[in-house]
Symmetry: C2
Subunit: 272 residues, 2 copies
Amino acid sequence: MLLAAEQRHRSRLCVGLDPEPSRLPGRWRGDPAHLYDFCAAIVDATADLVIAYKPQIAYFAAHGAEGQLERLMAHIRVTAPDVPIILDAKRGDIGSTAEQYAKEAFERYGADAVTLSPFMGFDSVEPYLRYHGKGVFLLCRTSNPGGDDLQARRLADVPGEPRLYEHIAALAQGPWNRNGQMGLVVGATYPQEIERVRAIAPTVPLLIPGVGAQGGDAATTVRAGWRGDAQGRTTGPVVVNSSRAILYASGDDGFAVAARAEAQRTRAALWL
Amino acid sequence: MLLAAEQRHRSRLCVGLDPEPSRLPGRWRGDPAHLYDFCAAIVDATADLVIAYKPQIAYFAAHGAEGQLERLMAHIRVTAPDVPIILDAKRGDIGSTAEQYAKEAFERYGADAVTLSPFMGFDSVEPYLRYHGKGVFLLCRTSNPGGDDLQARRLADVPGEPRLYEHIAALAQGPWNRNGQMGLVVGATYPQEIERVRAIAPTVPLLIPGVGAQGGDAATTVRAGWRGDAQGRTTGPVVVNSSRAILYASGDDGFAVAARAEAQRTRAALWL
């Protein structure tokens, strides 16, 4: 689904749907009742430009707006039926609880993929893999200041003393990756680390947040993470996320037009 | 709040509220519309026996039952005003998203504490600490089969080559623990590891799931994790969680009476 959307829309751009009430445009500003209206308008303005959408559940949950998220998921499905939806939830729990979260993501919200934390190990991921045709993106290397705190530590008891994030990349490419359902989340701030993850995990999709408002450079990010064969066919896909730079390209009633223009610019910058 | 509840109820028992529709008693079986009714009855039957309640958000989110969780939180507050409520959510995200999750846990649901994953580092935890008087329990050592996958790895570039979970315990006792707001989640299956965490983090509250249905022994768990001074006053608290053994002590209309009896047994076993 990801590869088809990439080719059809000639895009590696994922639009992150992280709506903050205080940043909604015009009359909607400050009113969480308009999270759906805002995001739906962004989807309408960008549906032909993206490889994926990534709604962030926290922005809805903080306001008791799960119903608006359900409507948004349905709206994306109708408006852009060929575009995968990655629910950004970063869940991480065991056994029966993981089953509940998988049900939430895949059945209640109808997501195509979900972001997960690998911290609790393989059996915290496995319940999601039972949904055939659905994907998971494991947190691997995040580019926030605290990303180093644990992820950059070297592991003394794993051959080669990889860093924790490198070990996760190896697990996701190999033993944990049943049926090709697994991708990795790697921040855009450190292109060398994207390259390192790609060397360890040559074929898994990389979800790369941090281009745009967070400062990562688009072309550098794609060169570090995307891989193709001699015919230019994608063998190692990247899904490069931009949220705030697109959502808040304009704070007034022209926000959707401005969002489309910014999405076009970012899409072009990512299509080398 | 935790220490006051421990002394008032002479209890180290936390009742986990993880309601599965398929395990609800009698006429409610299979109907997610009765998650609140079931949990509220469990609370009514155990309010004088516990040090804390721990609702697990996934069991509500899977069924679109956030409204029932809101009602349950309010019901606990009224029924057991002196009992802290730990929202088990295992969130882990950065900056502005963490702020949204903190708002969800502390403002929307009114929890006293929330469980978090430390994987993304300190700045993924810090937004929660801005809520003074609220607590966070960081995942440290989980006793599921995959808990070893990452948590048990030795860190080559930290002095002493601690295991990842030992490093997290040190962070939670020291540099990350502003205003004494931090606790740790440590599974009950391996008492030696509880002892190890307690040696590294002598004063933080330990939230210990896995007694009861998951098989951990009550007395062994308390000996490994609880610490007191010469007068028997608690200096290193434990919050020992049991969910299924209490919730599903009986599958018929006598479930609340059976839950109370099981909670009394477990509370006694934990009060050495």
